[in-house]
């Protein structure tokens, strides 16, 4: 029996050892980097799945690329969770050569330290476009959200999403002719709609982030980029008393108390309110939402037997608030290509990235996949024309939620979203909301 027990222990220990080693991280500094010359093939793991419009565009351009250069591309259409699949390969030291995703996803899921500096891609000529470099076609205003700590870009974008104020021009044509410029004009327009028996604002209140858009936009418009993330990262909590926060949160308090949102909007389930905006059963007019709204709203309308052409999508920038330090600020989040630090065929992958940035190729993201591209010289899809104009005039851009979701995810989940919930339930005044944020943020940093 003794022998058996000893044998068991040895075997168990061996198995534990093997597994722990397997679970450990590979931080081999000698792994191959981008020093290699362009090979004749590279691997690309994509965030799109087979059948999606973006996938079709990319697949067809990959085929063209192979025909023209002879470089084979081994593609895996992995879907949105692609970065989760990349992590173990990264740990093992053999990641794919090219991946795509939103810039905040790269920051939070892979970490920018694990991504290559793509400065040389920005310096590359776009094949077929006389002397135009990649850096010439990506607006300067977009760069801030694609940089590593040292200021080098880690992403080359091919699509841009953002949030803005949407309306249906068939219902409220007045917003097309003369969109409100200031918060006062905006409120006057809302009051007019309310007086006419409408509910001015649609909002799926079960999604805290959608409620939060209203506070964020006010704070960013009034206080400029970083007004939200900066406040979250301030261990004294003092920045929540800044004038931008005061005016923005008092504005939202009035919206909630004044009944500008649909009745019971906090207890309904997404996409009830958005769908009721689309088919007008809720008699709502404006919705502060991402640039995916046209495709989602048309889709839900079509599914419920409605006519998607009954919506003429229009949008206008969030009006000026308070001191208006965020004038010309646009929420624009880039989705694009990145190359993991240990990629073996980085040079070939880079070649493809520059190739895809050609106006005619990237334009298919707009014409076929109905999304906005980072290139302002590409014709946007009709329903995004308003947002494209806003983006084209951008002085500066921020990520969704001012990037605080990637900078301080725990703060967002544990402090921001619960407080937003209370504000929109009407359980906190603007003042009490700021106080709660300040107190809890101090505590949060103390607990660090």
């Amino acid at each position: 029996m003794n022998l058996t027990r000893r044998g068991f222990t040895t075997l168990a220990a061996a198995a534990v050892g093997a597994t722990v080693v397997g679970c450990g991280s590979n931080t081999d500094p000698d792994a191959p980097g981008d020093s290699q010359a362009a090979g004749d093939k590279f691997t690309y793991w994509s965030m799109w799945t087979e059948g999606e419009d973006q996938q079709k565009v990319l697949a067809s351009e990959i085929e063209n690329f192979t025909k023209e250069t002879g470089i084979e591309v081994e593609v895996q259409w992995s879907g949105r969770e692609v970065l989760t699949q990349v992590v173990p390969r990264l740990n093992a030291g053999n990641p794919p050569d090219l991946v795509d995703n939103g810039s905040p996803d790269f920051i939070s899921r892979l970490g920018v330290d694990n991504l290559m500096d793509l400065s040389d891609v920005y310096d590359m000529d776009i094949p077929g476009e006389d002397g135009k470099k990649v850096s010439d076609v990506v607006p300067e205003a977009l760069m801030a959200s694609m940089l590593k700590e040292g200021g080098e870009p880690f992403l080359v974008p091919y699509e841009v999403i953002g949030a803005t104020l949407w309306f249906n021009a068939n219902v409220t044509p007045q917003f097309e002719d003369a969109p409100p410029q200031s918060w006062e004009e905006f409120m006057a327009a809302l009051d007019e709609l309310k007086a006419a028996g409408r509910t001015p604002l649609a909002l799926d209140g079960d999604i805290a982030d959608y409620c939060a858009y209203w506070v964020e936009w006010g704070v960013l418009r009034a206080g400029g980029p970083g007004a939200l993330t900066g406040a979250a990262q301030d261990p004294t909590g003092a920045r929540f008393s800044d004038p931008a926060w005061v005016v923005a949160t008092d504005n939202v308090e009035k919206l909630v108390q004044g009944g500008y949102f649909p009745e019971g909007f906090r207890g309904s389930k997404f996409p009830t309110q958005q769908a009721s905006w689309a088919d007008q059963t809720s008699k709502t007019d404006l919705i502060l939402m991402g640039s995916w709204l046209p495709s989602e709203a048309s889709g839900s309308l079509e599914k419920s037997g409605g006519d998607p052409s009954s919506i003429a999508f229009g949008s206008f920038p969030f009006p000026s608030v308070g001191e208006n330090l965020g004038e010309g600020l646009v929420e624009a989040q880039p989705i694009g290509f990145a190359i993991p630090e240990k990629a073996r065929q980085a040079a070939a992958a880079k070649q493809f990235v520059a190739y895809f940035m050609h106006k005619d190729r990237i334009a298919r993201i707009a014409s076929e996949a109905k999304n906005l591209t980072p290139r302002t010289d590409v014709e946007p899809p009709a329903e995004l024309a308003g947002f494209a104009e806003e983006y084209g005039n951008a002085k500066t851009t921020v990520l969704f939620t001012d990037g605080v979701g990637t900078a301080e995810p725990k703060w967002v989940t544990d402090i921001w979203q619960p407080a937003i919930g209370k504000l929109f339930d009407g359980n906190l005044t603007g003042d009490a909301f700021r106080q709660e944020l300040a107190d809890k943020t101090v505590e949060y940093h103390k607990n660090g």
Binding site: T19, V20, D209, K410
Partner: protein, 317 residues
């Protein structure tokens, strides 16, 4: 104490007859080849990762590229200061105790009734049905049912109980609804266990109780409960484990890809949010592992406590 003489007797036999039987030799030869694969898989895929999880709970680790950094008890210390974790912990206990009371009360009542009725099998199948469905699907379906203009409110309005209509999914009500929902989803399972135990109880005990003039309640406490005590104990243990681990139902119920409101968070949800869950994943794998360790300890405490409290001499019949 009896084992001793037998072992020594066997030793004596061995000493006197050094060659073991061919069957015994074959058995010994096969021992490791047969055991090793299962052992390797069990240790490699279960025991080792679990121990690794305990190790990770003492580190700070994002799970990608870089190695875990040892931080000692910092994650546990952080949990003690974390107000939302406390809420999640208390919510889990609330599910365990309040929903648990509901589940067992309903199980006992239904079992007493079903024992006597003719269509008990059909009723049992219907009651068991929610347990067969994916908890996510049940959660989503229930949440649609309870939305402001959902069937439930419409039903209340149609029978003239309009004043009872509420926005059931708002953060201040949602947890109470979850407590009730969990009872509804779970009761079929425990009732099935209970009914199979009751099925083993000889009918004459019930007939005797009836002749003695015992009512339903008295019959339950004097016949059913004592004679099914072992199954009730097992059910209680299973409930402790399931209640602490409940996750999918709440995610489905509150689910929209966002983090559930703090009022509806449990230990598993808190762990999900600290690691890869929600719209803003935190990748705090050390903190998440610490929560997992707390959860395992909690389960162990409750399981041991329940087994101790419910230990009784089992009745033979």
């Amino acid at each position: 104490m009896k084992a001793q003489p037998i072992t020594s007797a066997r030793k004596d036999v061995r000493r006197s007859r050094p060659q073991v039987s061919p069957a015994e030799v074959a058995r010994r030869k096969l021992y490791w080849p047969l055991l090793a694969p299962a052992l390797l898989i069990y240790v490699g895929l279960l025991v080792a990762p679990a121990l690794y999880g305990v190790y990770v709970s003492f580190t700070e680790w994002s799970g990608r590229g870089e190695a875990p950094v040892w931080v000692g008890l910092a994650n546990y210390a952080r949990l003690t200061r974390d107000e939302l974790f406390r809420t999640a912990f208390l919510n889990t206990l609330a599910i365990l105790v309040i929903s648990g009371a509901g589940v067992f009360l309903l199980t006992f009542v239904l079992a007493s009734v079903l024992r006597e009725v003719r269509w008990s099998r059909t009723a049992l199948s219907i009651l068991f049905f929610p347990f067969l469905l994916s908890p996510i699907a049940v959660g989503i379906a229930l949440s649609l049912l309870l939305s402001p203009n959902g069937l439930f409110n419409a039903g209340l309005r149609s029978v003239g109980l309009g004043e009872l209509v509420k926005a059931w999914l708002t953060p201040d009500l949602i947890f109470r609804v979850i407590l009730i929902g969990l009872v509804w989803v779970s009761v079929g399972y425990y009732l099935t266990l209970m009914m199979s135990a009751i099925g083993r109880v000889p009918r004459y005990y019930y007939e005797a109780a009836e002749l003695d003039g015992a009512g339903r309640i008295s019959t339950f406490f004097n016949v059913t409960l004592p004679l099914t005590w072992d199954v009730v104990t097992i059910s209680a243990v299973l409930w402790c484990i399931n209640a602490i681990k409940v996750f999918e139902f709440i995610i489905g119920f509150t689910g929209n890809g966002d983090a559930p409101p703090p009022q509806a968070r449990t230990l598993t949800i808190a762990q999900f949010l600290a690691t890869t869950g929600g719209r803003n994943p935190q990748y705090a794998l050390g903190l998440g592992s610490a929560m997992a360790v707390v959860m395992v300890l909690l389960i162990s405490v409750f399981v041991v406590a329940v087994r101790r409290l419910m230990r009784r001499e089992s009745l033979e019949f």
